[in-house]
């Protein structure tokens, strides 16, 4: 009895000790040991080295698998295949809705992925906090061999304070997909480039002559603000204020913002925006479904989805039109999909090697063959729709007021349109708040 009790006590002590050690143990994932500080150089391998194998494969977390692209899975598979002797590459699907949170959590907890997908033109928040690895030495090594593989315009999007902190995967910007059948029924020629007034006139005709709603756009915070952002870019370009807008020098009470706000309100009040009441809460998927069902004449979407949208619109032909310009000149938001390496990555050289491989010609050819405009200049595009999209990319302006600060972006995502259109706040009230946010950002 006594020995049984003793065994029981010893067993409990052992269990408690195991649990305590487990709770106090190193971080999860593939890190073999905890990294003491973010500033420590990435000397340790990112994987637990095998005790007996001399050159163990390193584990790489590649947070850049874009499943929405038909090329996404294929590119990651090819990457894993090409580097199978050196790395165990885990391709992680990009969660667009929570991307920034996921990245910042990973960096703050000192267990970041080795490579992250993020838009180079939106990297300011990471640049300001020095959270992205400076890729300049790698790009300029060997007389700029790697640098020369990129479209120079797209590569510049990831340059902040003279340093390249992100590299482009392919161009991506906002466009309008047009249901040719509805336009034909309404007797309107399918546009290529048009003004906001022409867009509203076409919307009015579509509403009068067909059963379809003229326009649809998803509620998501990275999509719905396009209405405002493109308007501001277009008007800013027309008035020669693009640089000042990007630098946050234009007050929030400027007539540019007022015109954008009133144009958007008119679009909503006239019920040109699917499905009328509830337009601000329609999801991206619902907007797309309505477009495929022929309920909507024009769908706002990214250019990179052209192949998929054209293929899924089985009952009608789809054309790609430019975003209607609110000003005399057109300018649209966008830039590129891209990738970066966090500054506190475990093994910088390994991460760069994987990044270089992913963006090489053979893998990017997969991307181009699936109908996407790859950023690698050595990859040629033959699809006429993609060529058309590449023509439209001439109007892309990556530097915009929206990117001036995270609170500016949040204001456009959450308050700019709904406060005026739904809540009924006056234009002056909304713009005063925008000005306050601008000044707070400027003074920070």
């Amino acid at each position: 009895m006594r020995s049984f009790k003793r065994s029981g006590v010893l067993g409990s002590m052992l269990l408690a000790a195991i649990l305590l050690v487990t709770a106090c143990g190193g971080k999860g994932g593939n890190a073999g040991s905890a990294i003491p500080s973010a500033e420590s150089s990435a000397e340790a391998s990112s994987s637990t080295p095998a005790a007996t194998t001399p050159a163990a494969k390193k584990n790489i977390k590649f947070y850049g698998k874009i499943v929405e692209y038909t090329s996404g899975e294929k590119m990651v598979s090819e990457l894993q295949e090409q580097l199978k002797d050196k790395y165990n590459i885990e391709g992680i699907q990009v969660d667009w809705a929570n991307l920034e949170k996921i990245i910042k959590t990973g960096i703050a907890s000192n267990t970041p992925a080795d490579i992250y997908q993020f838009w180079p033109q939106n990297m300011k928040t990471f640049a300001d906090a020095n959270q992205a690895l400076d890729l300049t030495p790698y790009l300029e090594a060997d007389n700029g061999a790697w640098k020369q593989t990129f479209n120079p315009t797209l590569l510049e999007l990831g340059k902040f304070d003279g340093k390249y902190i992100a590299v482009p995967l392919g161009s991506n910007f906002s466009v309008i997909y047009v249901n040719n059948a509805i336009f034909e029924k309404a007797g309107i020629p399918v546009p290529t480039k048009w003004t906001w007034e022409e867009f509203i006139a076409a919307s009015k005709t579509i509403k009068e002559k067909t059963d379809a709603y003229p326009f649809a756009i998803g509620k998501e915070k990275d999509i719905q603000p396009w209405l405002a952002r493109n308007g501001i870019l277009s008007l800013g370009k027309s008035e020669g204020k693009l640089e000042d807008l990007a630098a946050g020098k234009v007050p929030g009470t400027d007539p540019i913002f007022s015109k954008v706000l009133s144009n958007i309100k008119a679009l909503y009040d006239n019920q040109y925006w699917y499905p009328g009441k509830g337009a601000l809460t329609v999801s991206r998927d619902e907007a797309k479904s309505a477009f495929y069902q022929g309920k909507v004449a024009m769908l706002a979407e990214v250019s990179a989805n052209a192949g998929g949208i054209i293929a899924d619109a089985k009952d009608f032909e789809v054309s790609v039109a430019s975003w209607p310009s609110m000003g005399a000149e057109n300018a649209v938001l966008g830039g590129a999909d891209g990738l970066f390496i966090p500054a506190n990555v475990t093994d910088k050289d390994a991460a760069v090697e994987v990044l270089k491989t992913y963006l090489n010609e053979s893998i990017q050819k997969i991307h181009a063959d699936e109908g996407y405009a790859a950023a690698n200049v050595n990859v040629k595009v033959s699809d006429p729709v993609i060529q058309r999209i590449m023509e439209l990319s001439a109007d892309v302006q990556a530097k915009e007021f929206y990117n001036f600060g995270p609170k500016i972006a949040a204001f456009f995502e959450q308050e700019f349109i709904p406060n005026h259109v739904l809540v009924g706040q006056s234009e002056a009230s909304v713009l005063d708040k925008l000005e306050k946010v601008r000044l707070d950002t400027l003074n920070k």
Binding site: G8, S12, E100, L280, A410, E415, I417, P418, L422, V423
Partner: protein, 298 residues
């Protein structure tokens, strides 16, 4: 005497040993993060390198910023409304089910408790489809019965968005309060009902004069439990509206996430979290006081 105290010491020691794993887990999962959060709330930290002590600056900012106050109000409003309605309806349903036969009662209890078992994200998605202005079940039903003018963009209209979320919360939580109250009613001696019936009391009279006073401690417990669940409404609000449209249905957890992970203001976010904690504790205290009842032995 010495042998007894030595025995007692061994027992205590064994007890502590068995508690150690659970204590370790609670310490790492709850105590340490809570203390860390409080400490962080007095600092400015960008989540990476820059960190400095700022005293009560974060709390002052949180109380002065309109969006934070609105989010805090929404959090409290949603939680209190959901809890109150779920409690009243749940207690009423328990009263009705108590009168049913064994089999029928079991079926009703299962049906009413099922929403509690569903994942919140699924519930949120389900009701998002139901509230859809064009294809949603609610608007379609209203149009079918000739009340098309009542059809709304439920999750877009500023007047209905919070109410729509509250209704979902009530639907989700009512089964829980119903079950707790029903279980409490099972412990009431049947003789009390019989004797009151002989006195001429109807069931309604019995319910209000006998049942409710006797089960008040359980109702209090149920209210606190439901309140805590209702305050954890992040996933429901996120799935249904993401705090929108605009910031109309924004709650403190959503505001905290944006503050920490979009604006890189982790200290400020921690301060908001602590303010919510204080608000929750105050409301629980008030609820306990209001629903304070005497425990009876029978």
């Amino acid at each position: 005497m010495t042998a007894l105290s030595s025995q007692r010491k061994k027992m205590i020691g064994t007890g502590i040993l068995f508690m150690l794993p659970a204590l370790a887990f609670i310490a790492f999962a709850i105590f340490i993060p809570t203390i860390w959060n409080v400490v962080l709330s007095f600092q400015e930290w960008d989540g990476f390198l820059h960190r400095e002590w700022v005293g009560f600056h974060n709390y002052k900012e949180a109380l002065l910023e309109e969006n934070v106050r609105k989010s805090l109000f929404n959090s409290i409003y949603l939680a209190v409304a959901m809890t109150f309605a779920a409690l009243v309806i749940g207690t009423g349903l328990a009263g009705f089910i108590y009168r049913l036969g064994r089999r029928e009662g079991a079926i009703y209890r299962l049906i009413l408790f099922m929403p509690v078992m569903l994942p919140v994200a699924i519930i949120g998605l389900l009701f998002t489809f139901m509230y859809n202005p064009e294809m949603g079940l609610i608007n379609q039903l209203l149009r079918t019965i000739g009340l098309g003018s009542w059809a709304q963009a439920w999750l877009e209209n500023p007047d209905t968005v919070l109410l729509s979320i509250i209704i979902v919360g009530i639907w989700r939580l009512t089964g829980l309060t119903m079950m707790l109250v029903f279980a409490a009613m099972q412990n009431i001696p049947v003789s009390l009902f019989e004797s009151s019936k002989l006195e001429g009391a109807s069931y309604a009279r019995q319910f209000f004069s006998i049942v409710l006073p006797l089960i008040k401690p359980i109702v209090q417990l149920s209210a606190i439990f439901t309140l805590v669940l209702a305050f954890k409404s992040y996933d429901l609000v996120f799935v249904m509206t993401e705090g929108g449209p605009g910031i109309l249905s924004r709650t403190i957890p959503l505001q905290m996430i944006d503050t920490a992970f979009t604006y890189s203001e982790f200290g400020y976010s921690a301060a908001m979290g602590f303010l919510l904690t204080i608000a929750v504790m105050l409301i629980i205290l008030i609820t306990s006081r209001i629903l304070r009842g005497t425990s009876y032995e029978y």
